[in-house]
Symmetry: D2
Subunit: 300 residues, 4 copies
């Protein structure tokens, strides 16, 4: 059982994850670039550090979840970064969705200091983070994963070992390609049928009772039908994940023609100003061109 845990990155996901660790009784030190976001954790009993190095100095386990590859490189390799201070034997669990290539390089740099790293991106959204019900996709040494399982079990209910360094990220990126494309093709199909004159709720009823049923469509369709694009997962982050997936495809020498096309539709929606809305807002890009909206009046 680790003596002390550090947490870096207190965004939409990181905030509730860190809080769950505090509530579980772990001594927790936190760091966030914008210090203000650390206040709720401080009130809950966490210690607040002023740099990743300070956070790393005494930690057995460090968990990070930051916004992109560059931010994670800065956290680890930058001035006052983790690399300067991490102890031999410590473990860095990175739950950020970043480039698998960079993640593997960071794991090497940490190994040179005697520390270990797991890439452990999550699925389950803010809701799952709050309830401690996330799913972790884990890459790195299995033995290291098993060592930190007591910590991971506070944060999630499924911890799936995917293989060596980078494979947790590979699984996450493959999954997000599938999610992004499912939501985009739902948009194309519903815009086409709606413009032709089929009521969207009728098409949804047909789909739901067929093999075309998709869980993400069950979840998103009611929001789309109301035009409610409050972000569960912001479109700009899905676009970023598609970019990472295409980089991985380049590295693996795998053609991804549909992902490539879908990424450019998200690029269009982001360029149109939809980046901070939910990624289901990708439909608005097609709706605007088609001159119709896929909306359903609420039942009276």
């Amino acid at each position: 059982m680790p003596q002390s845990i550090s947490f870096i990155g207190l965004g939409i996901m990181g905030q509730p994850m860190a809080l769950n660790l505090v509530k579980a009784g772990f001594p927790v030190t936190v760091f966030n670039r914008t210090r203000r976001k650390a206040e709720p954790l401080e009130r809950a009993g966490a210690r607040v550090a002023s740099s990743p190095a300070e956070v790393a100095r005494d930690a057995d386990v460090i968990i990070s979840i930051v916004s992109d590859t560059a931010a994670m490189e800065e956290v680890v390799c930058g001035k006052d970064g983790i690399l300067e201070a991490i102890r031999s034997g410590a473990v860095l669990i990175d739950s950020s969705t970043i480039s698998p290539t960079v993640s593997r390089r960071l794991a090497c740099q940490l190994a040179a200091k005697g520390a270990s790293m797991l890439d452990a991106p999550v699925t389950g959204s803010k809701h799952g983070a709050e309830k401690g019900e996330l799913t972790f996709m884990i890459g790195g040494e299995r033995e290291v994963m098993e060592r930190v399982l007591p910590v991971l079990k506070v944060l999630g209910k499924r911890h799936i070992y995917c293989g060596e360094h980078g494979l947790g990220l590979a699984a996450k990126l493959a999954m997000n390609c599938i999610l992004a494309t499912t939501v985009e093709i739902f948009s194309e199909g519903f815009v086409l049928a709606t413009k032709a004159g089929v009521p969207p709720e009728t098409l949804l009823e047909i789909m739901q009772s067929s093999l075309a049923r998709a869980a993400i469509v069950d979840f998103k369709a009611p929001f789309v039908f109301k035009g409610d694009f409050t972000p569960y997962f912001p479109l700009k982050l899905m676009h970023k994940d598609l970019e990472l997936a295409m980089e991985a495809a380049y590295a693996q020498n795998v053609p991804m023609p549909a992902t490539a096309a879908v990424k450019e539709v998200y690029a269009g929606a982001k360029a149109q100003g939809q980046g901070d809305r939910d990624y289901a807002a990708v439909i608005t890009f097609l709706e605007e061109l088609a001159g119709i909206q896929v909306r359903v009046a609420p039942a009276p």
Copy 2:
């Protein structure tokens, strides 16, 4: 209740559909271009006609399910076609997946003879056809649909009214865009992750327990993992439906960038000789390029 029913097109779907009508006690006359395929129906008690015109002459209700738009135009407008002989007051229920534009034109031509037409494509595969559990997506006049419901209820358990002529087809094409794309993006995601080193069954487990879950993937993945591409729905027909969807998108002035990209992957797989296998064989196009196969050894 109709006095007599005619059935045109005794392929994979038509054969069991016609048989169910005979079993339900209707007097059934059948026609198929290749006469040999009519023999099982003849043995079951159906009368075999030698042209669409002959089939149409005495029928209250005619059901057709043929392979493509050109075949349907020939059946209706060709020499000895339905138009030459259909009675005023009769109803043609066309369950073929064809061009909505052409379907609407055929409906006009029949209307000029006092007959009605419904576009009523189905979903549910051969299995659903055998069990009388198909879902019908129906376009045309609602009153006409209600009139022939006793017949349709023998063939399927869901009959969803989509709107005016062509909208049954519009719904079907939107749905097949979604199905074709879901299977293709599953292929891209799994080829990428598998080549990186993630075991496919691990990725499937992650997806199945997440919002990325899709019913068609639940159904197809076990076959893909065995390399079994026995056709439930042949790839060349899915490619044809994507072509019809793109024609509809052109007619409706709706951009469909993902569907367009996906169609060319199916075109590639078809050009590679996969046209007669199940459409899940689209994965082999990517597998061959990636130099790996998404296979799972059976549990011992």
Copy 3:
């Protein structure tokens, strides 16, 4: 030398083509759906007919250039169409850009009446039509082409025999795929570089002095740089030709992934209301998303 020539379709191209035939001394009968457009020809000495059948009745050679496949089917097979009246031995030269499949079928129907057909789409724009400097891409029997060369030589300066029925159209569609894509990729490249900060005239200078030089870019860039999208060839017609090319690709079992992607960008621009402007207006679709314009202030 033909005794009499008929001309169907007096649009942007047809008008000057028919006029050149009158000026060359041929007895010319013309037909246009909107009669008003025939007036300039009438003033120049042409006879105006009231239907394609009337036009066809006495003609040795009929030339047609109409807007799309459906219009051409109507002209040939519709009520008072060419088929009802064409003489045995007459030749129909169709310069419309239509479906090769439909064109081949029309050629068969005419052959059954003892008449011949050539598919003879043109390149060279309104300017070339006025000067009699069009290039014809010709499909059909070579002997028939040679028989009508005296007429074709009035209209154009190059007459390239491409092979059997439909191959003039196949060549034209391949060429328009290339033109449409060249203009679209010029747009992508220039929007990217301009947004980064490279002056467009600098990039054009680099391209013009390199192997990336394209004649269509030399021609279109000055108009784009001024934001002048006066139609030489309307975007909606280029979009139609891309649709025809994709249909031909489907028929030939040839994957066309770039053409497919480019078509959807034109679809987007058309949906945005650019259909009647020059097809170079496809750039505005990307410009609007990128939030910049590829413009160059005129030299003082």
Copy 4:
């Protein structure tokens, strides 16, 4: 006039470029990872160094042209890299095609040492390198460019100033998107027309006499028609440049749907084993699927 010049990267382009500098009378020190490739330069009178640092130590001007972003980062920031030894006041001219973002970062790092950097990618192929007729697209400070013009004039005949750091690369990437797409769409168009039955030389003749004429097609077509894919510019490098362009598009928030689609066709051709052949070999990807080859028998 610089006292001494260093040159890093003696590949297909670097070899003749360095040789021209020696011939022009400059004292030249060279470095290449594989020492053997430095031998021709040594015989010609260049000094051979054993690391980028050694090369940098006494140089007024350093020219680099290496294969990719990672190689350039290693050359500048790695152990015994340029950063360790470059003099204040020296200039690094990087003619590699690498990430503009990384290039800008390297320029910052050099500035911190008092040195300057220009991104100066070239066009003109091996041939242009040999003859000293390259075109340079230059980003960085104009004053720095003017200072090193005497050196650049030995290597090329055109030196086009594109703007601040990274804009030479932005121009180069835009240009290569256009080149890659032109060659790919030529492939699609010619495969479609050839399969339909149009002789490729006929289609080329039509194109060459029209606005569809492209200089790169004039250059590549004769090689394609012979099936000769000896590399002028290897397909894997064009694929890399498309990847860099897509990264730049992501950074600039510019959708690039055609470039995205074209990149995946190059990815397919590379995955098929065409990476080391000329990038015109992208056509073989489509030819194999279409089951035909775009070849022309030599005139007897």
